[in-house]
């Protein structure tokens, strides 16, 4: 009689038919021999940066920065921004604004007259007061910057 070895996949050589009947482990699970690891009871998932950086995956997008007008806010040319669209932008937030069809990253503020002002974080640049007739919208709020050293 011939039987096939129904092993657990740890013994690839034995998967060919062999002549002697052998005891089979028909349940496809593996039984490990040896001492149990003392750390087994303390197993936790490794830290996942996504958990730290992304609160809501559905509304979170990554964008790339070009230019240095936000350098004093720690946002450099070539950095990655983590943007959450579900946040309601308030004054003081770093926002992705869309002005005349272009994405800008600036700090959001309001003038005394209630006009939207986009502030740079670099003394070499001037604030941008958004005229009411401009094609303007707020696309999302930047919540983290990822800067390689």
């Amino acid at each position: 009689m011939m039987l096939f070895f129904a092993g657990c996949g740890l013994a690839p050589k034995a998967t060919r038919p062999i002549r002697e009947p052998v005891l089979c482990n028909l349940v496809g699970s593996c039984v490990a021999a040896g001492f149990p690891s003392p750390a087994d009871d303390y197993m936790e998932r490794p830290l996942d940066l996504n958990e730290h950086l992304v609160q809501r995956p559905e509304s979170t997008y990554f964008v790339r920065v070009t230019g240095d007008s936000m350098i004093e806010a720690g946002i450099h040319d070539g950095d990655l921004l983590v943007v959450d669209r579900s946040r309601t932008p308030v004054a003081g937030d770093v926002v992705i604004a869309c002005v005349d069809g272009e994405f800008l990253v600036k700090r959001l503020a309001r003038s005394a007259e209630g006009q939207v002002v986009l502030l740079p974080e670099n003394s070499g640049y001037a604030p941008l007061a958004v005229p009411p007739e401009a094609d303007f919208s707020l696309w999302g709020v930047a919540v983290h910057v990822i800067h390689s050293l």
Partner: protein
């Protein structure tokens, strides 16, 4: 409590996806082309208003599109797939029960929502738009068919502002009367023609028909549609909407393929893809079908189409096994001297990997374990580091036969090198 169905449908989904990262396109007409840039498969509202028909061949309309400043895109499924998943995940927060119906549509159960279904639907719509950038329309009705009709009404009527509740409508007859019978969900073109010949032109006409007539002429499906129009739900929530009976990977070539070597690569590539899909849904397959065809629409060229089937035993999820079966089928199918347009690989005889029957006579489940682990590792790598990081050499390195996508937008959400750029200046 009686059911209340919501059909949520993304507005001009592919065109809307292109706009999320291109705010400059917000009010410009946008169209998206099919694989190989052949036909127009999606149009923004502005493009529809220009009279561009759905499915129109691109080359015929190229000049007209340019004259009208229409933004034209090759299809970017990496982007559409990602945004679709985001939309569906947001929708999932708004109902305990949901069924994804297509890449851009889902049914939700909305009965008993605090504050009323319509208010809930409006909040849902605003949230999807805010979080994902995709505008949606919501139709509410006591059956799926009515929800579909309500959705269409919501899209057409500006004053609905994207949400329409047919169940709470004062004059539902008016709405049904504005709906041509051929546009009712579940009524095919053939039946529609017959109904129109019979003097039935609108959903209201159809609703008022004699049910025996409908059952006799249109079968039980037709009867179900009739009853659904009368508010009697026939298509409830599927108990097990999960598994498909077969899965397919196929695609037209960017340029005609004549030589066996290229065809072999293409078939291998589809075999690889379809096996990956199989594993993603946790299944094993016991049948492989391969088909090849020339371009039916190229008169004057010699035509050939053929397909072949091979049984795989035991059922497998192992790419090399599928690949081997597919390639030996291709050797039998392939004929020299034709310009092939398309090929594909289909897997059938699907079962759940967990809980399938094992036979004592089948060779070695151990093999299966090992294959399963190997394939899981391959899938894991490709998922993590990007598609095709690890692949089978049989599917080719150059891939000259791949899709033509001359106007594809960046993969804004799935490729580090293609992220949207924001200016700090």
């Amino acid at each position: 409590m009686a059911s209340l169905f919501a059909l949520v449908d993304c507005n001009s989904f592919y065109a809307s996806c292109e706009r999320v990262f291109r705010p400059d396109l917000q009010s410009r007409p946008v169209v998206v082309l099919s694989n190989n840039d052949g036909c127009i498969i999606a149009r923004s509202a502005e493009a529809k208003a220009l009279g561009i028909p759905m499915g129109a061949p691109y080359f015929k309309h190229r000049n007209m599109l340019r004259r009208n400043g229409v933004a034209v895109f090759s299809s970017n499924y990496a982007l559409y797939g990602d945004l679709s998943a985001r939309v569906m995940n947001v929708l999932g927060r708004f109902s305990p029960r949901m069924e994804v119906y297509s890449i851009d549509e889902a049914f939700l159960e909305l009965s008993g929502m605090p504050g009323g279904a319509e208010r809930h639907a409006r909040r849902l719509r605003a949230t999807v738009l805010r979080w994902t950038g995709i505008p949606v329309s919501v139709g509410l009705g006591s059956t799926r068919t009515l929800a579909k009709i309500a959705n269409r009404f919501a899209k057409q009527q500006e004053r609905c502002r994207g949400v329409f509740d047919l169940d709470n409508s004062l004059r539902p007859e008016l709405v049904l009367n504005s709906m041509p019978v051929r546009d009712i969900w579940g009524i095919g073109r053939r039946h529609a023609r017959r109904l129109e010949a019979h003097g039935v032109h609108t959903a209201l006409d159809f609703r008022n028909m004699d049910r025996n007539w409908v059952k006799r002429r249109m079968g039980v499906t037709g009867l179900h549609t009739l009853l659904e129009l009368r508010g009697i739900s026939c298509f409830g929530w599927e108990r097990n909407p999960g598994m498909r009976k077969s899965i397919l990977s196929s695609r037209s070539f960017g340029r005609p393929v004549e030589c066996f070597a290229q065809m072999r690569e293409a078939v291998a590539c589809h075999a690889e893809r379809v096996a990956e899909k199989l594993r993603r849904q946790g299944s094993v397959a016991s049948g492989v079908t391969v088909f090849v065809e020339t371009n039916r629409f190229a008169p004057g060229l010699p035509q050939y189409a053929n397909s072949g089937f091979a049984a795989v035993h035991p059922a497998t999820l192992h790419t090399p096994t599928v690949l081997g079966a597919a390639l030996s089928l291709l050797e039998r199918l392939f004929r020299e001297g034709y310009q092939y347009k398309k090929c594909g690989v289909m897997l059938s005889g699907l079962e759940q990997e967990q809980g399938r029957w094992l036979s004592l006579l089948d060779p070695v489940p151990g093999d299966h374990c090992e294959q399963s682990r190997l394939m899981r590792a391959v899938d894991g790598i490709n998922e993590r580091w990007g598609r095709d990081t690890v692949r089978f050499a049989a599917s080719g390195l150059e891939r000259v036969w791949t899709m033509r996508q001359d106007m594809r937008s960046p993969r804004y959400t799935s490729a580090w090198a293609e992220l949207p750029v924001v200016r700090a200046g």
